[in-house]
Amino acid sequence: MRTVMLLLFGFTVAASAAWAHHSYGATYNTKQEIKLEGKLVQFVYRNPHSFVHVEAPDTGGAMQRWAVEWAGTSQLANTGVTRESLKVGDQVVITARPSRVSGEYRVLMVRLIRPSDGFTWGSRGGEVVD
C-alpha cells in the first residue's frame, strides 16, 4: 500500500512539473489545426514546456516568427527527442493548434515532420503534448 501511495504522489508531482500556470485548453483552440512550413530558428529544450521557433508565413503570406509550444524535457526524452534532435536551419512542417487570441503567433505542437530525413513527432503513442 505504501509503495502505491508513493508512486501516486510521485506521479502527481511529475505530472505537475510539466503543467505550468497556463492550460492548453485555455490558451489554444483545441478544435482547430493549422500547418506551418518553414525554417527552424530556435529550439528551447526546457521545462515545464519546450518551444520551437519557426519562421513561416502567416495566412496573408507575411513571414512571421512562430512560437510552437512543445512538451517538457521528460516527455520529449521518453519519446526519443533530445537537445540535439533539431538544429537551427532545419526545414520543418508543423501541424499545430492556434492560439485563441487572433493575430498571435503562438501555437501548440501536434505533429512535426522534417522532410530531409523523415524525422517525425506526433504520430506515435505518447507523442501528444500533455
Binding site: R2, L6, S16, S23, R100
Partner: protein, 649 residues
Amino acid sequence: MTRSSSSALLLLAAAAVLASVPVFTQPARPATPPDIAGEWRLENNEEDTTAQPSLGDYLGIPFNAAGRLRSDTTAESIWGTPEYQCRPHSAPHQWRGLGGARILKEQDPLTREVKVYHIQFMRSLDRPVFMDGRPHPPAYAPHSWTGFSTGEWIGNTLKITATHFKDGYLKRGGPQVSDMYTMTEFISRHGELLTIVSVTDDPVYQDEPYVQSTTYQIETTATTAMETCNGSAFAENGGTNRHHVPHFLPGQNADARAEWLKDNSWIPEIAALGGVKTTYPEFRATLNGSVPEGKLTVPASKSALDLEKRIAAQAPRDGEVHVLPVQGSVYMLVVDGNNVTAQVGRDGVLMVNTGAAHMTEKLQAAVNQLATSVQAQAATNTCSGANCPGSWGWTSPYMNAVISSPAPARPLRYIINTSVAAENVGGNEKLATSGFFPRVQGFGTAVASVGRGASIVAHENVLNRMSATVGKQAAFPPVAQPTDTYFDEFHKLPEFVNGEAVIVYHAPAATTDGDSIVFFRHSEVISAGNLYSTVSYPVIEVDKGGSIHGVLNGLNRILDLAVAEYRAQGGTWVIPGRGRLSDTADVASYRNMIHIIRDRVQDMIKKGMTLEQVKAARPTMDFDRRYGSTTGAWTTDMFVEAVYRSLRK
C-alpha cells in the same frame, strides 16, 4: 534510600514546584495549539481541486459585472509575456495547486514560542505568517504574490489575515482577482487531516467574499518539491513584439463559454456566469422560472473592505510626509498623497519632484531629517588612540562628534522634475534656493540668474511651459524653473551622485510633452513620475502634448529597464507618481490595463462611434472600481475623453 529512589523524589518535588508556579496571562489561544508543521498532501474530492474550470465557467463565483468582463477578456496567453512567465500561482489558488504544501515553524530561541509559520508550495515563494502581533504594513508599501500575513490562534484554529497581494487569478484559466483582495484563512488540524477554509474578499470584482475549503493529509514519505523558473524573457507568444499584450475585446471570446455549455447542456448559462445570486439556494426559484433574476433577493454578505478608503490609503491626503526606505540610497516620500523620490548619501540630496507647494515646509523638514540621519548617523565609539582613522592626534572621531556637534547634513544638489504638473514642481522655488550646486566662477560663487541653488533638471518642454508668460509674468518665477534641460532621448547626469549613475529618460507625448523617467542605476530604483499611478488612471493632458500612446510607450520603457529579483517580483523598484511602491509585475499589470483600454477605444473609433457613444459603452468598466472616479480633478470620463482625443489625432 537507593540512588534511584532519591532521584525519583527529587523529580516529584521539582514537578510539584513547577505545578505551583502561577500561569502568566497569555493571549487567547490554547496552551498547546495543534502542531500544523510538516509536509502535507492535497486530499480533496472537490471537482476542481487540481485543475481549473473550463473557459467561461464562473459557477459559484460571486462575480460582479466588472469581474465577469475582466475574466472574459483575459487571454491565457498573457502567461507567455516576459513579465508573467515566472509568476507563481496566485494566492487564492495556492492551496488548490498541485505538489503538496509544507508548513515550517520558526521558534524564538529563548521562549520557543512559534514566532512565524512558513507556508510553501511547489509553485510559490515562501509565505511567512507572523505570529508575534506585528501590524500590517501601510497601504503604500509594496504588494507581493504571497502578501503579508499575520496569524492568531482562536481555539484550535489558526486564523490568518493576509493583505498586500498582487493581482492574479481566483482560479486558473480565467476568473481574475484584483490587487485589492484580502484573504482570511482558517486552518484546523484533525488528526492526520488539515482543513483550510479560505475567504477571498475582492470588492473590485466580487459582490461578496468567495469561500472555498481544501483538505490536506499528512505526508510522511515525500517532500514538497520546488519548481524554479527558467522562463526569463523568452518569447513564448511568438512574433517579435516584446510588448505584445494578449487580450480579447469584449464579446470576442464568447465562443469559449458556448463551447463548454454545448458539452454540458444541463448547466443553465445564467448560472455559468456566476454572480452572488447564483450562489444561494434561493436561485432555484430563478432556475425554475418562478422568480426572475432581477427580482430575486438573497441574503448576501457584503465585503468587509471599504474599497475607496483602502485605495486612497495608498496615497494618503493627510497633510503629512511619510517616509518609506526603498533600496540603496533611495527613499519614497509620500507627501500629502503625491510621491517624491529622495536619493540621499554623502554627496548630498537628489530629489525627483518637489511635491505640491503647500507641503514644501514639511517636505523640507522631512528631507533634512532624513539627510541628517543618513549622513551624520550617531554611533558608539569603536576606536581610540592616535591611529584611529579620521582622527588628528589623540582626539578620537567619537570625541569630535560628541564635543563638537556633528556637521550639518549635506545640501540638496539636484532636483529632477518629471513633468510640469503642479504636484511635481510645487516646491521647486523654496527647495532649490535652499540647496547648493557648485557652478562656474569658482565653487560656491553665485551665478547671476541661477544663484547657488540646486540644479533643476527637466526636459526642455518643462522649462518652456514654466517660463511661458501668463499675462505679463512667467507661469513660474525664474528660481523655480529648470536650470539644466535636455532635449534628447535621455540625459545622463554628468557625474555619479551619491555613488551611482542617474539617468533621465524622456517619455515623449506621455502625460504631457515633457515627461521624464528617472533611473537610479546602482540602487535599482525607477522614479516613474505621473506615467504610473496605483490609485488612478494616468492624468493625460492632451492639450499639453500628452497621449495614450506616449503613456503606453513610457510604461514599456520602464519594463525594459526594470528586472525582477525572483519569480517576477521585487528587483528594480518603481516609485509611482501616486500610490504604493511597485515592481515590474505591478507596472506590467498597469501597462496591460492601459493597452487593453487603448485597444477597446480604438476598436470603437473604427466602428465610427462618437465620444459620447464611447463613454456610454464604458470601455474602462472592469477597471473603474480600481482606478476610476466620478468626482474630483480626474474623472473616468475625462480619462476616456483623453484616450479618445489622442487616438483621433
